[in-house]
Amino acid sequence: MWYKILYAFLVTVGGLAYGLLLGGISRKITARIHGRRGPTVFQNFIDLIKLLRKKTAISHGTMFFLAPMFRLLGGVGVLLLVPIVYGSSILSNFSFGGDLIVVLYFMVFGCLGMALGAADSGHPHSALAPTRGLAQMAGYELPFLISVIGLAIAHKTVSISGLVAAQQGGIFHWNLFQYPFLSIAGLIAMLGMYMAYPFSVVMAPQEIPVGPPTEYSSTFLSFMFSGRSIFGVGKYVLFMDLFLGGATNLVEAFVKTFALFLIIVFVTNVFPRYRTEQAVKFFWTYPVVIGLIDFIRIFIK
């Protein structure tokens, strides 16, 4: 049991590093697409260090104070509840703690915490952003739930390990190929979940300065930053487990999560931004219709 905690710590640190790196790569790719050189891929590490060592910080109240912890906890929790490597007792983390439903609900934990803290700052933009985020969440969760429920019913399990196990045995056992429409719906939902363009209205950096964390600075911000990175990695791993057949070793995990990451980066860089209601309507139409094809197939079967 105790070694699990140690490994969990390692996975957290690793996840943080990986997440920051992916962020850096994303910035680099964006820059290259713009025709710039862009920052180094380690820019996010530097930013994090800077933020950690800012000399002053302000707090608006208790919830404001606690929110970064919630955020971090939410991120770490999601990462630790999904098995990263199939079959590995170590890298399956704490996935005995709960199944897919638990993870889905736990994902909200951090977001809610952050939103509360942000709102406690008394800044109107901080409160506006979560409302957008929640609305958009109501948008993308519908196709995502379609794919999740479809997969759960198809494989008769909601355990993530169980889902991964069901996809073993070659690339064509992956859900991406077994249930392509469900996977497409799920992956489109993933775009929304990462709040990247075209669904970035939540974090719109200029109109509502970076959304919820408007008032956050220094150490608070660094915690949120790292929480967000870890959360991102956790979600990649989750999607990998759901659609790409999981991973049997760490390298495979890296490759597959990176592939998912690339999807997001490329989509992000070529699309303008949706307004909230446009995003919601988009999610409730195309991906839902696509997802329902397989969903009904499974329902009839």
Partner: protein, 1063 residues
């Protein structure tokens, strides 16, 4: 016992002697009058008492002139006529007292003579056994009424009187013709003698049927049946209410008895047909026409006419409905109770209408609050009239519905629809009356007669309940419990001199009952589904009643009695053992909660009541469908003995769906939750809506397996639950009132429970029961907190709040935990319910429902956040700078509940161990899930370790906190306006608080879903019905010729349907 003829003789002599006494002064006249009335009353009472105690066994037969019956006239006093005589004289005395206190216009002795002779006429009418003598007494009654009706001498009363004279003359012409032709036909005028001459085969020829029709038709006109009752309504509207009280309360009942008796003596074979056609149409039409009334007296008039229609229907069934055994007895008691109820409560209403004197309903606004006694009398009468338990009208209606044969189910349905319509307009009136309104209230006259009436009514109600439980042979335990409920709430009212005393008493009583339940297992023998709900109710109630004290100062004195009443009737529901008992307690709960809600939002309460009535009467109709042959009282288990149509299940379920607020029946919920007294809302949401769940479980377990299409029904229910969960959550997002958000949230959550029930698997029940308890915990918490916040801030409007975390940290903590539980986020108790439900749905492969249910919970996050943000976060307003933390009892309740969510979240067994027992009592062997290790719960599809999740969440939170303290910079806590604001300084908290219409963007996306389709549909139906009624009620043109014409048309119609004859 007094010879009945003496009553008549003495009355006559007194009436004649007033002609002399009037010269001695008013006092002498009054003395003679009162002496006579008292003597008569005592005399009839002695006879009635004789019948009641069985001292007189056979009907009294009095020969007049010393000749045996067919030769001479004779009086025939049986049980019913004696009782009716008592009622007539009582009401007459009360009306006379009332009229005297109001002041009779000048030739008072004459008016008293008319009154005396009116009473005499009606007594003679119900005593005589001779058709022609009957005619004479009818005429005495009529002519006295003509004069009395005109007694106000204004254009209204004169017009009414003239209409009455013309129609009455036509009516008596037919009675006279009928009587004489009967003599011609049978050679006798004595009823019994004629009856002996007649057998039903004679009706195949044309003669007897036409004669009988003519005779009975004359009486039917007097019985104010549709479409010949325009004159009656005009009397109710136009005449002196004191007179109307006697007419409606006594005289018409005499006509009714005479009609039934004549029909019986004539062996009229088509009585049932006539009763159904005219009784039912009168009932329905008048109940609907009353909707649009602006004049309160005419409204009461419509109600009276409707009741008469019901009576005719009941009488026709009693005599001619081929009832057997118990059914016949029930019907008899239904008739008696209807008559008593209508006499006492309607005359009270007319007295009160006269005392206050205003005609237009709008002018009655606020009357209830201005004079408590007046309000009490009015409320009691209206409640009894509308058939609210435990008043007499309820038992009458119940007996009636039970007694009607199942083949005539459409009558049950129509009568119940009429009853709903009745509730609709009566309580629309009550709504107006109970509104708050400033102004002076004064009335002229004495309130004593109304007081007497109501006391008699209350006594009779108790008698009715006693008779009901004795006659139906229901478990006496329930009857005793009903008495206990009533007595205890009255005790809270009487002994509670102050709110504090009431609070302590209520706490004590609920606590005592709880203690009794735990100690004494006679109420709940083994732990089963029923005791599950008993504990639920009592635990919730004691918590919520504890929280109410700080709020109670602004509540009226009936708050705690009604609270106790509601709680105990819910306990009654939980321990009931058959459908009828369930229905009785169900209605008790509905009505008492209606009265409680009415302390707050009047319109909301009205809608709640109407929806409850639809549900409750739907349930009664369903129960009616369940009853078979001699078994009029279907018990839970007996319903499994045979197959019944699916409608029984659906109808019974309607009641539960209404209370649960399931989608198309939810329209009451928002406003009822939102506007009910804050102290009551937690109970309403946390416990009362759970009674729907209890009923649902009973229905699904005991009833549904035996219905046809049970699978379809269940699947349909699941869809209703899912759509409710989704759309109510969507609607909750856009509410701007804290209690209305919670209201929608509440019904959305109950939608989940409904899904769990509809699954009908053990896992589904586990989910439902778990969520039931859990919802009680967190929604109670939220509503208690909301109540406290409203108490402190004085508003429930969300954009008005904000930033209260700084003032109410404990409340915030509790509220936050409540919200996390509501959202179902893992470490707290909310998640377990979600997980169980989803697992159950997965198990059953109800994918679409699962999808909708999960999606609904995502949507729920939006309002969760909204609540937290707009109340507690954001900017604190200046006006709340001095606001304090909630009062101690509220904080205690909040924190206890918050602690519970945490405890249950880490250890769901706290609830699951109970629900498992309850589920096993339903006949399942396992709860549908298993414990893999101590804390790891496993279903077929997934697993989940609550303990680990809790420890993990708390632990990592602490670790993160520690990490933070290592890394932290110099942190300064800044002021609330120290925000980055483009270099500007905000001038006030309000200007930078984001609290209104948080989801404007979302609204643009879901506009079509949140448009109040259902509510508008109801409104449209109501409005079109209103418009239809408003148009059709012009049927009563007020034109005398038309009224007379309708009499002739009706006669030809009756001839046509009963005797094809020449055509």
């Amino acid at each position: 016992m007094v010879n009945p003829v003496v009553i008549i003789a003495i009355t006559l002599i007194a009436a004649f002697s007033i002609g002399i006494f009037q010269f001695l002064g008013k006092k002498f006249v009054r003395g003679v009058f009162w002496l006579t009335v008292l003597f008569d009353f005592a005399a009839i009472l002695s006879i009635a008492y004789g019948f009641l105690t069985k001292a007189i066994k056979n009907p009294i037969m009095v020969k007049i002139g010393g000749f045996p019956p067919p030769i001479g006239i004779n009086l025939y006093v049986d049980q019913l006529s004696a009782y009716l005589g008592v009622v007539v004289f009582f009401i007459g005395a009360m009306a006379a007292y009332h009229w005297l206190s109001r002041g009779i216009n000048d030739p008072e002795p004459k008016a008293l003579v008319l009154l005396l002779l009116l009473l005499l006429g009606s007594t003679g009418m119900i005593f005589t056994q001779d058709f022609f003598n009957l005619f004479v007494f009818i005429e005495i009654t009529s002519i006295a009424s003509y004069g009395l009706v005109a007694s106000n001498l204004d254009s209204f009363s004169l017009e009414a009187s003239f209409k009455y004279i013309v129609i009455g003359s036509i009516s008596s012409t037919f009675v006279l013709l009928g009587a004489v032709l009967l003599y011609k036909f049978a050679g006798s005028l004595n009823m019994a003698d004629i009856s002996a001459h007649i057998n039903s085969s004679m009706y195949s020829g044309g003669m007897l049927i036409i004669i009988s029709i003519m005779f009975l038709f004359g009486l039917l006109i007097e019985l104010e049946v549709f479409p010949m009752n325009g004159w009656a309504l005009d009397i109710y509207q136009g005449a002196n209410p004191a007179v109307v009280a006697i007419l409606a309360g006594g005289i018409v009942k005499g006509f009714y008895l005479v009609f039934l008796r004549s029909a019986n003596y004539l062996k009229f074979p088509h009585l049932l047909k006539i009763g159904i056609i005219f009784g039912l149409s009168t009932y329905i039409v008048s109940q609907f026409f009353a909707w649009k009334q602006k004049d309160i007296r005419r409204l009461f008039g419509y109600s009276s006419v409707g009741q008469l229609g019901l009576l005719i229907l009941a009488g026709a069934f009693y005599l001619n409905g081929n009832l057997h055994g118990f059914a016949k007895k029930y019907m008899l008691f239904a008739i008696i109770f209807f008559v008593l109820n209508h006499s006492f409560s309607k005359s009270t209403l007319f007295f009160l209408a006269d005392l206050f004197g205003r005609r237009r309903i709008e002018e009655w606004k606020g009357v209830l609050s201005k004079n408590k006694l007046f309000g009490f009398l009015f409320s009691t009468s209206v409640l009894s009239m509308a058939g609210a338990p435990p008043f007499l009208g309820f038992w009458a209606k119940l007996f009636f519905i039970l007694a009607i044969p199942k083949e005539y189910f459409y009558i049950v349905a129509l009568v119940l629809i009429g009853a709903i319509a009745e509730i609709l307009y009566y309580f629309n009136l009550y709504r107006i009356i109970s509104e708050k309104e400033d102004g002076i209230f004064d009335y002229k006259g004495s309130i004593v007669p109304s007081l007497f009436n109501v006391f008699v009514l209350l006594g009779l109600s108790a008698f009715g309940a006693y008779k009901f439980f004795i006659l139906t042979g229901l478990d006496i335990q329930s009857g005793k419990f009903l008495a206990f409920i009533t007595i205890s709430s009255v005790a809270v009212f009487v002994l509670g001199v102050s709110r504090l005393a009431q609070w302590i008493l209520s706490l004590g009583m609920i606590g005592a009952l709880g203690f009794h339940v735990i100690k004494n297992t006679s109420l709940v023998p083994a732990f089963n589904i029923q005791s599950f709900f008993v504990y639920l109710v009592l635990a919730g109630a004691i918590m919520f009643v504890f929280a109410t004290y700080p709020l109670s100062k602004k509540y009226s004195a009936v708050f705690y009695p009604l609270f106790v009443f509601t709680v105990f009737s819910m306990v009654g529901i939980s321990v009931s053992s058959n459908w009828i008992t369930l229905f009785i307690f169900w209605e008790l709960m509905s009505w008492s909660s209606y009265l409680l809600i009415n302390q707050g939002g009047k319109k909301a309460a009205w809608i709640y009541l109407v929806m409850s009535a639809i549900g409750g009467y739907g349930m009664l109709a369903g129960i009616k469908l369940l009853s078979t042959g001699p078994n009029l009282i279907p018990s839970f288990s007996s319903s499994s003995a045979f197959a019944v149509s699916a409608w029984a299940g659906i109808l019974i379920f309607t009641a539960f769906l209404v209370k649960m607020g399931t989608a198309p029946l939810h329209i009451w919920a928002r406003d009822a939750y939102g506007e009910s007294p804050d102290g009551f809302t937690p109970l309403l949401s946390g416990v009362l809506s759970k009674m729907g769940v209890f009923g649902g479980i009973l229905t699904i377990v005991y009833l549904l397996p035996h219905l046809s299409h049970s699978d379809t029904i269940l699947y349909g229910l699941a869809w209703f639950g899912a759509l409710t969960a989704l759309f109510m959550a969507l609607l909750a997002i856009f509410q701007e009132d804290v209690k209305k958000v919670l209201a929608y949230s509440s019904i959305s959550q109950v939608g989940y429970i409904l899904i769990g029930l509809a699954l009908a698997t053990s896992l589904g029940y586990s989910a439902a029961l778990y969520h039931t308890v859990n919802h009680l915990i967190f929604k109670g918490l939220l509503f208690v907190a909301a109540a406290g916040i409203i108490y402190r801030t004085g508003t429930s409007y969300l954009p008005e709040m904000g930033g209260l975390i700084r003032r109410m940290p404990f409340t915030f903590l509790a509220f936050l935990m409540g919200i996390i539980t509501l959202a179902g986020i893992p470490p707290l108790s909310g998640f377990a319910g979600k997980w169980l439900l989803y697992s159950a749905l997965l198990e059953k492969r109800w994918m679409f429902i699962l999808l909708i249910a999960m999606f609904a919970s995502i949507v729920a996050f939006m309002y969760c956040y909204k609540l937290l943000h707009t109340i507690f976060l954001g900017q604190l307003r200046d006006k709340y700078r001095k606001t304090k933390e909630l009062p101690l009892p509220l904080v205690i309740v909040e924190l206890v509940l918050a602690g519970l969510t945490f405890a249950v979240g880490i250890k769901p067994n706290l609830i699951l161990s109970f629900s498992e027992k309850a589920i096993k009592s339903l006949g399942f062997t396992s709860p549908g899930y298993a414990y893999e290790s101590a804390h790891r719960i496993v279903s077929k599809f997934g697993y989940w370790n609550a303990y680990f999740m809790g420890v993990f969440a708390v632990g990592s939170f602490i670790i993160a906190l520690i990490l933070f303290f290592f890394a932290k910079a110099k942190i300064r806590k800044v002021g609330q306006l120290d925000i980055g604001y483009s270099g500007e300084v905000p001038d006030s908290p309000e200007s930078v608080h984001f609290g209104y219409d948080l989801y404007a963007h979302m609204r643009r996306a879901v506009r079509v879903f949140i448009y109040p389709h259902v509510e508008n549909t109801y409104k449209r139906i109501y409005n079109s019905l209103m418009a239809f009624v408003d148009y059709t009620r012009r049927f009563y043109t007020g034109d005398l010729n038309t009224y007379a014409l309708w009499v002739v048309i009706t006669l030809s119609f009756i001839f046509y349907i009963l005797y094809k004859g020449v055509f």
